[in-house]
């Protein structure tokens, strides 16, 4: 994988920090490689030991499983996003097209934010990250 340039890393970090500052319900948001390496992380839970690392691996696994499930069900469309609706938490995993590489943007938020609102936030951020990654 091509490593991120310092400028790219700074731009991505700024974007995710701003997202968390504007939306306090977001507990953790990160950009990871499709094979589960965390690249950029923000949110109130970012300091939890090992949590971002595990979240990146889980996000990668879940998106791969979503992609495989789609194929098995006969979908010819590429996977765009996976939503996990937990009791008190919403998790959105969204593919981010970085040109010649794919990434996963994963956000975990308090459920009171609502699925639609979180999806919109993740989509908006994904577009910005895509610009920064190309």
């Amino acid at each position: 994988m091509k490593p991120l340039s310092k400028l790219q890393a700074a731009a991505l970090q700024w974007r995710l920090n701003r997202c968390c500052a504007e939306v306090p319900e977001i507990q953790l948001i990160l950009l990871a490689t499709v094979d589960g390496f965390q690249l950029v992380v923000a949110g109130s839970r970012r300091e939890d030991a090992e949590l971002p690392e595990k979240f990146a691996a889980i996000a990668s696994s879940m998106t791969a499983l979503g992609e495989a499930a789609g194929k098995e069900l006969g979908s010819s469309q590429r996977l765009e996003a996976v939503a996990l609706d937990l009791i008190d938490l919403l998790v959105i995993l969204r593919m981010v097209d970085g040109g010649d590489q794919q990434f996963v943007l994963a956000a975990a938020a308090d459920k009171k934010i609502g699925l639609e609102a979180l999806l919109k936030i993740v989509h908006d951020n994904a577009f910005c990250l895509e610009e920064a990654l190309r």
Partner: protein, 235 residues
């Protein structure tokens, strides 16, 4: 009634779990391979991040469901999920790695409950052409009180993978016979212990497809050869 049995393929990144499942599965395997960005750790283009899944239907109609675990340690949270309910395991190792035994140790620790029941086989690939290397693996297992057959394999060859499955079922039959016999040996005690762990794989009369059932799909490799190999290579 058609029975389904769950088998695991475990081992480090790049040992050939996906290849092994692809070699024997009767359906196009479900694969969750993605681009590998950890090229320093292992230089291969794709890597499994969730699981591989394949299937074999036995002549009796029973089905073997084959699950390959993701080999990287950061996906170890998947290992316990996939191990749940597994009847047995094919553990794969690559002798050409710089530290092959250290890598193997990770899986011996992670799956020690299943391995100590004896419901497993070890296949070692890319063995150097010198004598006694396989014995080191046998000794390694023995030090951890794991008594399973060890084979030299090339997982690209369908007959090698079928030989491993054949040996695994022979091994499971032996363990179940010991368990039913209620002997007082250490091996039986381990089996009993393991049976309580692998709840879905609980031994019962006729619950395991016999080695003979696997043999007809073994591409001409007889179960006799596999068992003989096991006896030759194991402790």
């Amino acid at each position: 009634m058609v029975q389904e049995y769950k088998l695991l393929f475990a081992g480090g990144m790049g040992v050939g779990k996906t290849t092994a499942i692809s070699a024997v599965s009767e359906i196009p395997p479900v694969s969750t391979d993605v681009a590998n960005s950890d090229r320093e750790a292992f230089d291969k283009e794709l890597t499994t991040v969730t699981l591989d899944y394949g299937r074999i239907t036995l002549p009796s109609g029973d089905r073997l469901r084959l699950y390959g675990i993701p080999g990287q340690k950061r996906f170890s949270f998947m290992w316990a999920m996939l191990e749940h309910g597994a009847m047995g395991m094919v553990l794969l190792a690559d002798a050409s790695r710089p530290e092959p035994f250290e890598e193997l140790d990770v899986f011996l620790k992670a799956f020690h409950k299943l391995l100590r029941t004896g419901r497993a086989v070890l296949g070692v690939g890319r063995l150097p052409k010198k004598r006694g290397v396989l014995d080191k693996y046998v000794m390694k297992l023995a030090r951890r009180k794991i008594k399973i057959p060890v084979f030299s394999v090339d997982v690209r060859r369908k007959e090698d993978v079928l030989m491993l499955l054949d040996a695994l079922f022979t091994q499971i039959e032996v363990v179940e016979d010991d368990y039913r016999g209620g002997g007082a040996s250490e091996e039986v005690a381990q089996s009993a212990d393991g049976a309580s762990v692998a709840a879905d794989g609980k031994p019962s009369e006729g619950s395991v497809p016999s080695a003979d059932q696997v043999s007809p799909i073994a591409g001409g490799k007889s179960s006799g050869e596999a068992v003989q190999s096991a006896n030759e290579t194991a402790v």
